[in-house]
Symmetry: C2
Subunit: 331 residues, 2 copies
């Protein structure tokens, strides 16, 4: 977080006011008191106060958030992979001849380890089968049907109820304070758009993500946008600032992520001229969620941990900073 | 335009009310009375009236517009080409060694015919020199500096004062009625964003266009987005519906264009389930602007003229339907 000295002083005095009012108007009730919660509130107060020298005009209050592991859970595998596996199984029921490889057979059998064993090529086969060869509308209908029925393998919750309550509060708080909130995810743009409005209150035009090539096709009937198997854009690492420029056209002043795939997005956000806030969600809670960072097959956070504090970024330590993880859970 | 029968009747009765009120609250004062103006107003009244069966909720009131030849002029060549030519000349002043081809030499000499004579490859060299090899911020600063100084070769007006007054009124009218207005242009997204807010009241995140690859680069100093010479996306013809899905994520209900490059955008818009409006700006005014359609090197409108009426689209005949062309002109 980059603050002028004047604002640091103002923030210091504001913190007393904050303490006095927190009882009846806490914008982040599921966040435990502490440095990160205070820093978020101090930042928002500073950039929204017209008298502050860190004031930012509403049109420039852009906040961007990664999705997997930042706004909802991502273990034991990206939820979009579970969708793909379930989708291949469903397609194979209708037409078993589609199972032309070991990876697709593993997917149809719900054998995640089998898919992983088939390597990157196998993984792309499974994703490709579920994500291409149909129109964007058909794809979205498939995702919606899956979301309505599917349950997470260990929590047994619907996937869209594995969003993080503290992050929902943060999104709402930022919007209440005049921010535009965007998702900037390595996940699929068409996939996330099916749930973004209901799950996060984020309109579809404020979702940025990875995507396959799609093609405008006019056949016998109505024109369609057909999803092709080739990758159009990989919205990860340095791709995130590129996609932010492409879709939003402005540099954000607030960025939230959870892995090294988000590093460049936080770096780009922090490199702006004015005030900025970088937030890393740190998965430290093996009991209520999952604990992982430096090692693993997903959501690796290594460089972020090593450099984040020096860069002025804040960490949401899930075990310590979050009173609840998921919505509608009494904890 | 696709209207239910009930709404046609309502529209018929509304037209009397419209006639009575037009004297003091005409939303489109620079449009002459006539079929196209009435059709636009009837459509907007229908989709914004909660009692109408053609009512469209504000979140789905998406309007998309081509830029060159639709919102501003495009003759005798795309304005972005004039920018590129001027930019190459400016760069050559600082470093003449950049003029490594006949096309670049022609550009530096302001010789448009020479560039055209060098073919597509030469044209791409000129565009490439002006549009790549610098950061997005530098590029935008170049465009802003050019817009402030450059004058159109025949009208001597600043380019951003060659926007069409009737279309400015249409954009404002649609926004006043709860529409989100987007530009969906074959022109460059970074280029148009420099002027979209001031010229059209369209925020940068609502600009969709063609683009070159850009790359996130971290060097000694601050990170940068560097513009590369390779094309990332060509936002023309079937690319327009693809880009609309990519950026907006919803099908528009209003689309305006002026050439066959916009045909698929109007087709896609009209193929939605609900009411829709397709508008073609028809360049018929050789006196106040330019007259061209079926033939030429730019803005060719052939299929649109042949099929538009049957598809229920409307034409803004510039000579007949527009009382003025450019803002601040007494005519």
């Amino acid at each position: 977080m980059h603050f002028s000295k004047a604002i640091k002083q103002a923030v210091f005095s504001l913190s007393f006011v904050g303490a006095a009012t927190v009882g009846f108007a806490d914008p982040l009730p599921s966040w435990n008191s502490g440095g990160t919660k205070s820093a978020i509130i101090d930042f928002v107060e500073a950039v929204t106060d017209p008298a502050s020298e860190d004031y930012v005009t509403p049109a420039d209050r852009i906040a961007v958030f990664d999705n997997d592991g930042t706004l909802w859970a991502e273990q034991p595998a990206y939820f979009q992979l579970f969708f793909a596996i379930d989708q291949v199984a469903k397609m194979a029921e209708a037409d078993p001849s589609i199972l032309t490889s070991d990876a697709l057979k593993a997917a149809a059998a719900g054998d995640v380890e089998g898919i992983v064993a088939s390597g990157k090529e196998g993984l792309l086969q499974v994703l490709g089968a579920a994500h291409s060869g149909m129109s964007v509308s058909e794809f979205k209908a498939n995702v919606a049907a899956w979301l309505a029925e599917a349950r997470h393998p260990t929590t047994d919750r619907p996937y869209d109820e594995m969003v993080y309550q503290p992050m929902l509060e943060l999104l709402r708080y930022l919007r209440d304070e005049g921010f535009a909130t965007y998702i900037v995810s390595g996940g699929g743009i068409d996939f996330i758009r099916v749930l973004s409005e209901d799950a996060y209150g984020i309109a579809v035009n404020q979702v940025v993500g990875s995507s396959l090539v799609s093609e405008y096709v006019v056949g016998e009937g109505a024109p369609m946008l057909m999803k092709q198997p080739d990758l159009f854009f990989n919205d990860d690492k340095g791709g995130k600032p590129v996609a932010i420029n492409h879709h939003i056209g402005k540099r954000p002043i607030f960025a939230g992520g959870n892995s090294d795939g988000d590093f460049e997005m936080l770096e780009w956000t922090s490199a702006g001229d004015g005030p900025s806030f970088g937030l890393y969600v740190h998965h430290t809670d093996a009991e209520r969620e999952w604990a992982y960072d430096r090692e693993g097959h997903i959501g690796v956070l290594k460089r972020g941990l090593d450099e984040g504090a020096d860069r002025g970024w804040f960490f949401a330590d899930m075990a310590q900073d979050w009173a609840v993880i998921y919505p509608n859970t009494a904890e």
